[in-house]
Amino acid sequence: MSKESSRIGWNREAMAKRAALDIPDGAYVNLGIGIPEMVAQYVPEGREVIYHTENGLLGMGPPPAAGEEDPELINAGKKMVTALPGASYFHHADSFAMIRGQHIDLCVLGAMQVSERGDLANWSTGASDAIPAVGGAMDLVAGVRTVVVITQHCTNAGEPKLVDACSYPLTGKAVVSRIYTDLAVIDLTPAGFQVVELAPGVSFDYLRQRTGGKLLPRP
């Protein structure tokens, strides 16, 4: 992609802001590592959202102030966090019972690829020399009630990440319901990728050229 075209669309903050708009008041939410982590700071005022981190904390707060850090109070990305009033700690089996038992309302994850059927690949390229690492991704997509993805629309090499079928090993089948990219908000429907919203300056044709799989214009 040219430098000109790479400037079109939302930046990381704007993507996180857009995703944050859709988080309802009262939701229990798990945020993945990377852009998903940024979503918390943009949830509109007046909504109370409780963040779950799978290493054993509900009621996770922002990073600690200088001097308040505790290396044993961390999030799933192993960054130091805080516990808000009303927080609770629990062990890993309880934490994943919250996930696998469908108690968490929403999770926001990164992606390597999403297929038009909502299959997600976000843990391995399948390369033979890569060290496989899955963490809690497969548990989240199998158990959380609503799974959404935030990702750049294309790879750094310009390849579509929204594809007809994932070429990378799957994290879960038919699990994603909405995708927030730098170019658009897209829902997964039985008919394919349904455009919900285009980023400023992005046309449907521009999006279609950068999307694998079936892309449907806004109704």
Binding site: G56, I74, Y89, A93, I131
Partner: protein, 236 residues
């Protein structure tokens, strides 16, 4: 009289044998029983199967145990972390085995192991390479994969306070896998920041009841893994 306290980390790990399966608590450095791991390095048991969420960082703690050639196989969910070089190098040269397990399945396999449940069905990993070769079954129209319980010969865990019965209280997110590992191991060895009098822990706040614990050693000021790594420390 029941007194599970022992005098030293060395004494606490002295009977860990070659080929044992050792469950090691911690999520990254949070909850990592670094003094017990270092005692296990001094002790020298080899060909261990180690269960931990990660593979350690730098050249201390779990990473040092692996680097010292004592671990034949890792069972974990996320073998790559910041500052983890030891495991990747051994894995890429085929000198250590890896069983990759989704994090929730890992926790539940341990819980099942501790609860006398031989196996369970879960939706996690269905349709992925990690479900290949495993028995699958459909319940109410949804597919599930059969996962087997995981037990340990020993568990090494860390807590904040313990009494001589082995009742444990943890510190914040350092709790993570420790309670299920304590349940799943035949011999659970704990390092505690403080050994308190019987009754000093309110029964309402006990997280791991003493029945799951065999040995308690006091390490009043445990090392902080990330500090050791930042200092470039190498154990031993």
């Amino acid at each position: 009289m029941i007194d599970k306290s022992v005098g030293s980390a060395a004494e606490a790990v002295a009977d860990i044998y070659d080929g044992a399966t050792v469950l090691i608590g911690g999520f990254g450095e949070a909850g990592s029983p670094i003094e017990l791991i270092h005692a296990l390095i001094d002790h020298g048991a080899r060909n261990l199967t180690v269960v931990n969420n990660n593979t350690g960082s730098g050249h201390v703690g779990l990473a040092a145990l692996i680097e010292n050639g004592q671990v034949g196989k890792m069972i974990c969910s996320y073998p790559r972390t910041t500052n983890s070089m030891v495991f990747p190098e051994l894995y890429c040269s085929g000198r250590i085995e890896l069983e990759l397990v989704p994090q929730g399945t890992l926790a539940e396999r341990l819980r099942a192991g501790g609860a006398g449940i031989p196996a369970f069905y879960t939706a996690t990993s269905v349709g992925t390479p990690l479900a290949e070769g495993k028995e699958q079954r459909s319940f109410d129209g949804r597919d599930y994969v059969l996962e087997q319980a995981l037990k340990g010969d020993f568990a090494l865990i860390k807590c904040e306070r313990a009494d001589r019965h082995g009742n444990l209280v943890y510190h914040k997110t350092a709790r993570n896998f420790a309670p299920v590992m304590a349940m799943a191991a035949r011999t659970t060895i704990v390092q505690t920041g403080a050994l308190v009098a019987l009754g000093a822990i309110d029964p309402e706040t006990v997280i791991t009841p003493g029945i799951f614990v065999n040995r308690v050693v006091t390490v009043a000021e445990p090392a902080q893994e990330s500090k050791l790594v930042a200092q470039g420390r190498i154990y031993p």
